[in-house]
């Protein structure tokens, strides 16, 4: 708990570039544990009885997988671009700052789990459950930006090129993460369908095609 507390309070020592006491692998474990905890609650919409218990397990695995896989896939390009921009010496610190932000995001998410549980107890509408979880993820993401600013701020003050690298990282990470979230559906589990790890039509469309089609439909109509 003291480590979690220090993680959430961010780099408090202005003289120390990134005062993240936890090691990189501790941060990864944090993502798995707290992300999995939120996934467990997220998957509980259909209940615990019978096959529906499987959805809890699936979501418990998928929530941290979403974050960690997006992180790993985005890492090689981040490394090469940091090198090209002359920021290699700060790469270790940058990586730890990003990992700490992810770990903080999962801790924030896990703290929202009771709200999700109460929502599930209050409503049996699947669409509203999906929307509520979307709001929880959005709120946790926005909150984690405060952590990101605190951890990455010293790097940006040291060299303003880090700002561009951070922007590039966020673009690539979100680009991959949105598609991965689409692929890993369902997270909540429709009560009218049996639990599935992945949907059977997972490869029919990608997230961006769906979003673009929906946007066109809203703006232009049929």
């Amino acid at each position: 708990m003291p480590q979690i507390d220090r993680l959430l309070r961010g780099g408090s020592n202005a003289d120390d570039p990134i005062s993240i006491s936890a090691s990189f692998w501790h941060l990864v474990v944090c993502v798995v544990v707290f992300g999995g905890s939120y996934g467990l609650v997220m998957g509980a919409f259909s209940g615990f009885t019978g096959d529906h218990g499987l959805q809890l397990l699936f979501s418990c695995i998928k929530a941290p997988l979403l974050l960690l896989f997006s992180f790993v896939v985005s890492l090689p390009s981040f490394f090469v671009l940091n090198s090209l921009c002359g920021l290699r010496r700060d790469f270790g610190e940058a990586l730890k700052a990003l990992a700490a932000t992810q770990a903080g995001l999962t801790v924030i998410l896990a703290s929202f789990a009771p709200f999700t549980a109460v929502w599930y107890l209050s409503s049996d509408n699947y669409q509203s459950a999906v929307a509520f979880n979307g709001v929880m993820f959005a709120a946790a993401s926005v909150s984690s930006q405060f952590l990101l600013r605190r951890y990455y701020g010293p790097l940006i003050r040291r060299d303003s090129r880090h700002r561009w690298m951070l922007t590039g990282w966020l673009v690539v990470y979100c680009f991959v993460g949105i598609q991965l979230a689409w692929v890993l559906r369902p997270f909540i589990g429709d009560p009218s369908s049996p639990p599935q790890f992945l949907r059977s039509d997972v490869f029919r469309e990608n997230a961006y095609e769906v979003v673009f089609r929906l946007a066109c439909h809203m703006l232009i109509g049929n």
């Binding site: 790993v72 090689p76 090209l84 002359g86 673009f212």
Partner: protein
């Protein structure tokens, strides 16, 4: 092989193209090693690119994956071979002091940087290759990756050229006078250390004395390289493999790269 990766790492970090290193002579990259790395990195990206063919509903097309792995490095090396002679000739015509091997090392270094960036995008492309069946989306995604990598590679080429020509010009005019570092402030000798922040391989050094004609030649060459490379990629297609068509090593000569990208955008949207 590890030494070659270390050389590539030095290129990416800018150590192989900083003023101190260039003062000692030519750009320090091993030509055979960098060529092998270009092939390896190209094969890696080709594997990621061709993975789209493994997810076909009609069954995986393993030959397409093999073809992509072979074609990506071939595309870059062939484009380099096609555009290099004219570059060297015009470079000499405008009076540049960059010799044959210097220009070749410079281009191989820039191509290595391009392939390094491209290979780093490989995991992203591989992920999308296996998670979507949209062929137009994958075409546009790969075009975007090649474009970004190409821009960064060309940026590296231009900045390194500026530094090389600046050093060469300063030595030719007044060889006894000190050469200043990239910020134009501190004199830099073979033993002194620059006190200003080190510039990255993509940053423009100040106080450059690059001849306008040489700069024009290289800028024209970059446009030619991009155009030739784009059309060469069309000639060597398919790289990804249209799921609605059977595998072939090459397609018939029709249309061109730019028309194809336009059609992909229309089909996607």
């Amino acid at each position: 092989m590890l030494d070659w990766f270390r050389s590539l790492d030095r290129l990416l970090r800018g150590e192989a193209t900083d003023t101190k290193t260039l003062l000692r002579g030519d750009i320090d990259v091993p030509l055979p090693g960098m060529t092998v790395l270009i092939i390896l990195l190209g094969v890696t990206y080709g594997l990621c690119m061709g993975a789209f063919a493994l997810m076909r509903t009609a069954g995986p097309a393993y030959m397409q994956v093999s073809a992509s792995m072979a074609k990506v490095p071939f595309l870059f090396l062939l484009t380099l071979i096609i555009t290099f002679p004219s570059l060297y000739v015009f470079n000499a015509l405008v009076g540049s002091r960059l010799r044959f091997l210097s220009v070749l090392r410079l281009l191989i270094a820039a191509t290595s940087v391009t392939l390094a960036v491209l290979a780093s995008f490989g995991p992203i492309v591989a992920f999308f290759s296996v998670s979507t069946t949209s062929y137009p989306f994958m075409v546009l995604l790969n075009v975007a990756m090649f474009s970004v990598a190409g821009l960064l590679g060309m940026g590296f080429l231009l900045q390194t050229l500026h530094r090389m020509s600046r050093i060469d010009e300063a030595i030719r005019r007044r060889p006894v006078e000190p050469i200043f570092d990239e910020t134009g402030g501190t004199p830099l000798t073979a033993t002194s250390e620059p006190v200003a922040r080190e510039l990255s391989p993509l940053e423009m050094p100040s106080g450059q004395l690059l001849g306008g004609h040489v700069k024009t030649v290289f800028r024209c060459w970059m446009i030619v390289f991009a155009l030739v490379g784009s059309q060469m990629s069309w000639v060597l297609r398919p790289f990804i493999g249209n799921p609605d068509e059977p595998f072939t090593w090459f397609r018939s000569r029709q249309s061109n790269f730019f028309e194809a990208v336009w059609h992909a955008m229309i089909n996607l949207f």
